[in-house]
Symmetry: C2
Subunit: 525 residues, 2 copies
C-alpha cells in the first residue's frame, strides 16, 4: 500500500503519460524529462546535506523549476517554504526566519531585489538558465542547473519512506493585520484539498469544469497554496501544463493561444485584466478570493468565459465552489448569478454560519453570521502560534473570519471579512457585497468600501472609487437608490461619501488592501 | 478536522441536499428522512448492546434498509458483514462464523431459505414492512421497523469518535477454489476507493461519466464492495439514488423509465439481459468483472449505452477504468474498441505486469504477464489468513492473479485469470480473450473456454457454447480462421472441440464458473 504523498503523483504521470508535456519559459519538458530532472536535483541536494525536515525557501514565479522543487522536496522529505513574494520585505524576512529556511532558491528575476538577505541565510541557489550570472554573495551559492547536472539519475533512498503525515510545505499568509502567520501542510492535507477541489469541478457541467483533455495554466502563483493545487492536479491527471512565468496579461494571452490553454485560475482582478485583452474568451476560469461583481460576470459570460468561484484560503484550503442549483435552468441570467454568489460546500466539508452566541443562523438569504468550516483537509493551526491557533481552530472547526449567510437552498454567500464589515447603527453592512453592487455602475473600474467613524451611527460606509470614466458622487448615489428599489441593498447601505483615486492598493493575494485604505481614509473629513 | 469516515457523508447530504430522494421498494425517502431513520436505528441498536467492533451480518438485495445499515453501523463503529448471498450455503455459514457475526439482519425474501441458521446466531432482525411476518426462531429476534421506532432521534454518543482507520466492513470472496476469503475494509480504504473511482469517471467525456445531475441505480449488489461504492457516492454527491430491490431485467427497465435513471453499474451478463429488453438505451453504464465481447459493445453503442469498463476486485478495490487514448478520435470504431479493452490505472494507482522472474514485461501489446497493483486504498490482506495473505500481498503490492499485457500506449488489457489460461505447447492461450472473440459469432449467446488435457500439447482449449441459433463446430472454426487472418488471434488458439450446452454455470459475482466447468469437462473425450 502507498499513501497520499506528493511525489507519488509522478509515478502515475511517468508510467501512464510519459510523453505529456510541461511548457515553461519557452521550453517544453515531457513528464519523463521532468521526472529525470527532479531525481537528479534531489540526488544532488541530498549530497549537499538536504534531508528530511530541511526547510527550503523558494522565491519564484510559476516556472518549471519551482514545480520541480515541489517534487524534489517531497522525495527528500524536505519542507518546501513557498515564499510569499507579495509580502513587504520585512515580513518576507520574518517568514523565512520563522520557518527556519536553511536553503533559499531564488529566480534571477527576484535575486537583485533581495541582495540584503544573502548574508542572512547559509545556502543559496540561483534559478536561471544563464549560468554565467553572478551568484548570491553568500556562504554557499550554486547555480540550479549545475546542481541538477551533478545529480545521478536515481531517486533519493528515503523517497519510499515519506509518510502522508509528514510536513510537505509551509506558507505565510499576507498578514494585513499583525505578523504573517505560517501554515504547515502535510502531504495528505494538501493533496486531499487539491484533488477534492478539482474532482468536484469535474462533476458539474457548467463553470470551470476540468476534464482529462484540458490544458491547464495557473495564474495563481505557486506560493499561494501551490497555485490552488495546480502544482499537483495536471501531474495527477496526466494533462498538459503551461506555466506563465512572469508573463503579463498580453503575454498570457499569447501563451493561451499558442498552447491551446483551456483552463485557467486567477483572482477577479486578473480576470478583469484579461477581459480587457482583445481575443480573450472561450475558456474555463476558476476564480475567487474577493467578491465578484456581476458586471464582470456578465462580461465574462459574453466572452464565453465559463467561470466558477471558489471559496477557501490558505488556512482552510478549498471548501466550497459556486454551482447552479438543481432547480434553476442552466442557461439563464439567474444561473449566471448563482455561479457568481452561490457556494456549495464540497462533499465531506461542513460549513456553519453562526451568530455571536455560536448558534447556527437561519438559512433565509439575509441573516449574516460568522462562517465556520470543518473538513478532512483542514490544517491544524498556525506554526508556532499556539495562542492565535487556539482562537481560530476550535473543536475541529476553523473560524474563517468571514461573514456570510445561507440562502434557503443551502448555498452560501460569503459577504465580507469580519473586520471589513461596517457596523452602522448596530446593523452590519457587508462591504464586499456593497462593493459588488457599486461596481455594477459602468463608470466604476474598482471600488473599496471601508468604515468611516461617525458620531451618530458609530460607523458609516465610505467608498473609494477608481473610475474608468468621469462620474459624480450624486450619479453613484442615484444609481444605488435605483438598486435599493430592486431589492439589492438597504437604503442605509448607501455610502455617505465617495473618494476618487487613481489606484487602489492590493494585498499579496490580489485583494483590496483594506488595512492600508483604513489607515489612510477612515478619519477623513 | 474530520477524517474519512463513512457516516461523515451524511452530514453533507443532509445539510446540502436535505430534499434529495432515495427510491426503494415503491417508496421514497428524502435524505433528511433517511438520516432520521439511521440515527433512530443506531440509537436502538446501541441500547440492545451493539457497540464498537460488534460484527453485524446483512443478507439483503439492494434496498433502503441495507443502505441504512451501512450508515448505522458506521456511527456505532460496528463492522458490517455484507453477506455474499451467491455463495453456496455451507460457504455462507463459513463466512458468518469466520467473520464472527453476532447479529444477522435478513430480508423477508431470504429468511425462508436460511431457516437452519436461526439457531446458530444469537440475534436476528427481519427486514420487512410486514410486521406480522413470523420472526426467526432464535434467541433474540426483532422486526427492523420496530427496532427503528424504538430509537430516539439522536446520534450514538460515539459517532464522533470513529476513526478513518477503524474497520467499517468485511466481505467474503466467492472462493471458486478453496474456502471464501474475508477482506476487511477500513473507513478510509473503502471511501477512497469509491470516491477516486467515481471522480475519475467524471473527468472523462466519454463512457460512464458521472455528473452531479445523474440519477444512480446500482445493479451490482451491495454485498459486493458496497455495490462498487454506490452505497456511498450518491450520498456523497447529493444525487438521487434508485434501489432496484429484487427487480428482474423487466422490472429494472420500468424503474429506469419511471425514475429517469441515467447511470447504472452491472456485470456484462446483466447488460446483455437489459439489451434484450425493448426500450433500454440512452444511458450510462459502468461494467466489468469479465471480458467484454465486442459484439455486446457494438450493440450497446447502437442503443446509446455509454459504457466504461472497470478493472478491480474485492481484494484490490478499483484500480483502472477503460478510456479512449488522447490520440484516438472519440467517435470511431477504434475508440469503441479501446473503451472495451484499454484500461488506464486510476491516478495514484500503480500497475505492473511481470514475468515469472518478477521483471516488468515490455509494453508491446502482446507479452502476457502477471498483473500486480499498488494503491493508497489497497486492503491489507485476508482476515485471519496470514499465510495466504503473505503470498498475495508482497512489499505493498498485490498480486491480482490476473494475466494481462500493456499496449504501447500504456493501456492495460486484462486477458484472463492466471488459473484459467491454457498452456498449449508451452505458450499461453488467454481463455477470456478467446471467449470474447468466439462470442462475436452471431449464433453464440455465451461461451466459456477451459483447458482440456492433451498428451501432445499438455493442454488444448475446449469451448463450451450456449447458442442462440443453430451452429456447427465447423462453422465456428471457419469463423475463427477468418479472425486469425484479421490478426485477432493466433491459429493455435482455435479450440479443438466445441461442446454445446443449455446453460453455463456462473459464480456469485456473475462470472463464468470455470471451476465447475473444468470439473465437468476437462477430461471429456
Amino acid at each position: 500500500m502507498k499513501n497520499f504523498v506528493v511525489h507519488q503523483l509522478l509515478y502515475h504521470a511517468v508510467i501512464t503519460h510519459p510523453g505529456q508535456v510541461i511548457v515553461s519559459d519557452g521550453k517544453q519538458f515531457t513528464f519523463q524529462q521532468f521526472y529525470t530532472r527532479i531525481i537528479k536535483l534531489a540526488d544532488s541536494l541530498s549530497h549537499k546535506g538536504v534531508k528530511k525536515g530541511t526547510v527550503i525557501g523558494v522565491l519564484d514565479v510559476n516556472t518549471h523549476r519551482f514545480l520541480e522543487m515541489h517534487y524534489a522536496c517531497s522525495m527528500l522529505g524536505a519542507v518546501l517554504h513557498t515564499i510569499n513574494f507579495r509580502l513587504a520585505p520585512e515580513q518576507m524576512v520574518y517568514s523565512m526566519v520563522h520557518a527556519g529556511d536553511e536553503w533559499v532558491f531564488v529566480s534571477d528575476v527576484f535575486a537583485p531585489a533581495i541582495k540584503p538577505l544573502f548574508s542572512k541565510f547559509p545556502n543559496w541557489v540561483l534559478m536561471s538558465d544563464n549560468r554565467r550570472q553572478a551568484l548570491p554573495d553568500a556562504q554557499n551559492a550554486f547555480h540550479y542547473e549545475n546542481l541538477l547536472e551533478q545529480g545521478e539519475e536515481k531517486e533519493p533512498s528515503g523517497a519510499n519512506e515519506i509518510s502522508e503525515n509528514d510536513i510537505f510545505s509551509i506558507f505565510y499568509t499576507t498578514g494585513t493585520t499583525g505578523k504573517p502567520k505560517g501554515i504547515r501542510y502535510k502531504h495528505r492535507t494538501i493533496l486531499h484539498g487539491a484533488i477534492q477541489l478539482f474532482h468536484h469541478l469535474a462533476l458539474h457541467k457548467y463553470g470551470a469544469r476540468v476534464s482529462s483533455r484540458d490544458v491547464f495554466m495557473p495564474l495563481i502563483p505557486f506560493f499561494h497554496i501551490h497555485a490552488w493545487g495546480m502544482a499537483f492536479f495536471p501531474i495527477y491527471l496526466g494533462s498538459k501544463l503551461v506555466l506563465p512565468g512572469s508573463a503579463d496579461a498580453t503575454g498570457q494571452l499569447v501563451l493561451i493561444k499558442k498552447e491551446k490553454v483551456s483552463w485557467l485560475n486567477m483572482v477577479p482582478t486578473q480576470l478583469q485584466m484579461l477581459l480587457n485583452q482583445k481575443g480573450f474568451g472561450n475558456i474555463k476560469v476558476l476564480t475567487g478570493g474577493s467578491p465578484f461583481a456581476s458586471g464582470i460576470a456578465q462580461r465574462a459570460q459574453r466572452e464565453g468565459v465559463n467561470f466558477s468561484l471558489i471559496y477557501g484560503g490558505s488556512d482552510q484550503l478549498a471548501t466550497a465552489i459556486s454551482v447552479i442549483p438543481e432547480e434553476v435552468e442552466p442557461d439563464t441570467d439567474e444561473a449566471l448569478e448563482w455561479r457568481r454568489v452561490g457556494m456549495r460546500p464540497l462533499p465531506l466539508v461542513e460549513i456553519s454560519v453562526r451568530d455571536n452566541q455560536g448558534h447556527e443562523v437561519p438559512h433565509d438569504g439575509e441573516t449574516l453570521g460568522a462562517v465556520w468550516v470543518r473538513s478532512p483537509w483542514l490544517p491544524e493551526g498556525y506554526y508556532k502560534e499556539p495562542e492565535i491557533s487556539k482562537k481560530q481552530f476550535i473543536d475541529g472547526w476553523f473560524r474563517t473570519g468571514d461573514l456570510g449567510f445561507f440562502y434557503p437552498n443551502n448555498l452560501l454567500y460569503v459577504a465580507d471579512r469580519e473586520g471589513d464589515a461596517i457596523k452602522s447603527g448596530g446593523e452590519w453592512i457587508p462591504s464586499g457585497m456593497l462593493e459588488a453592487i457599486i461596481s455594477e455602475h459602468p463608470a466604476v473600474a474598482q471600488v473599496a468600501v471601508i468604515p468611516k467613524k461617525d458620531e451618530h451611527w458609530g460607523q458609516r460606509p465610505l467608498a473609494i472609487v477608481k473610475v474608468s470614466e468621469k462620474v459624480s458622487p450624486k450619479e453613484l448615489t442615484d444609481f444605488l437608490i435605483i438598486k435599493t428599489k430592486e431589492g439589492k441593498l438597504a437604503r442605509f447601505w448607501i455610502p455617505d461619501q465617495f473618494v476618487f483615486v487613481d489606484d487602489i492598493p492590493l494585498t499579496s493575494a490580489g485583494k483590496l488592501n483594506k488595512k492600508v485604505l483604513r489607515d489612510q481614509y477612515s478619519e477623513i473629513k
